[in-house]
Symmetry: none
Subunit: 128 residues, 4 copies
DNA sequence: GTGGTCTAGACCACC
DNA sequence: GTGGTCTAGACCACT
């Protein structure tokens, strides 16, 4: 289900966060789907459960999953809201960065190349 | 000299910042050139001097201009350093943002549209 | 938490900036700690919220804090980087300023006095 | 009279500026003393006259010398004013830098060491 | 509630 | 004249 790169500069908990978020926002995981428990996932990917807990905590803070004590963790039902607000953020940030690029004289064409390069390579898990 | 869009969702001070940065980094404004005073520019574009001050302050913090109380504001002499370090940052951030956009399912085409929208805004310098 | 001297020739926003920077870089405030909101701090020290905003803005531009509209302001997680690059800068600038002082005939003793004056200002953290 | 370091990162005109300023502020050159003409000094130190001109122009702008067409250049009579305002600036900058040093946890003792190091080495011409 | 932006108007020191 | 600081009060979007 998940791929962890132990050598990456991206913290492991963030890699887990990003992949679950992506699966949820893209609809692979449906609302109210139960996801693996902290311990199950920890065993599966061979990572300390505390790290998984940290990822789940952040996912819960951002309303991507919800956890019920004694039962498990589930995908939030109101993901469209999350998705919308996240999309808005990305749009704003992207516009800002493109503006910066324009300011220093980078050509439109160069940006198209970066875009193509990102979209035409395998999925990366870069996030912030 | 500058064009302000009061209806834009980009803050006024940021619009001013962007345009002066662009003029400076592209070399239209030369090192040690004096730029309009806070009050002059405020009168010219019809907005509050505090808003101009905010833009100038930010420009100064980023070493794009320097201000001398009682004398005026001037283009920094060492813009190549700014430009170099900025170029690196912009490439990194841009790639990261595009990656995020991809991760949440935004299509390549939509990004091209944002790019075009930013680049096709009229601008005094955009004539190459 | 903070002490403001309204009669000081150092601007209020700079006093606030300095004290929060000091608390953050010395590790009293930990990464991701939430700090007082603009309005809370304004009420606490009895000055205008805009002045606090100015201090926080500067702290954010220098990556010492980060602010999220609607949530609050927090200590940056990557303070070691800030601290490192800042240390280099301070050493260079300090040496340069001392050199200038020497060049215009200021005595060593006078500089020692300034240093003592700055360091012997009461401060919550100055207890080592 | 003057020492020029062609390999220094400090611009030659600035080196000349600094040394004449130092001689004037320390009283080695007295008010209304005539200094070498641009051409004389250029020949003496083996530098292009344009560079000397630039140094003299800045000295005149800062009221350290005054030039009379056809007669030559002279040390300003009101150097105490210059000296005072320059001293004030240095005091302010120095205080600011020491504050910064304090903020990142540099000890008083370390600053004393830098001061001693600067004062106990031969005169440097560092300036900004 | 939060931070972000903007205005209007004031006073200061420096040039 | 210049930039720098500060106040008082307003509106916005987001949580």
């Amino acid at each position: 289900m998940l791929e962890i790169d132990l050598k990456s500069r991206i913290p492991i908990y963030k890699q887990i966060y990003n992949q679950i978020e992506e699966l949820a926002l893209k609809g692979v995981l449906k609302p109210d789907d139960q996801i693996l428990s902290v311990r199950q996932l920890a065993r599966l990917v061979g990572i300390n459960p505390n790290t998984i807990t940290k990822a789940y905590r952040e996912l819960e803070l951002n309303n991507i999953i919800y956890s019920i004590a004694g039962k498990g963790s589930f995908i939030s039902p109101d993901l469209t809201l999350v998705s919308m607000s996240k999309k808005r953020k990305v749009f704003i940030n992207l516009t800002e960065e493109i503006n910066q690029a324009k300011n220093i004289g980078i050509q439109k064409q160069q940006i198209f190349e970066i875009v193509s390069q990102v979209y035409d390579t395998k999925s990366e898990v870069e996030n912030k």
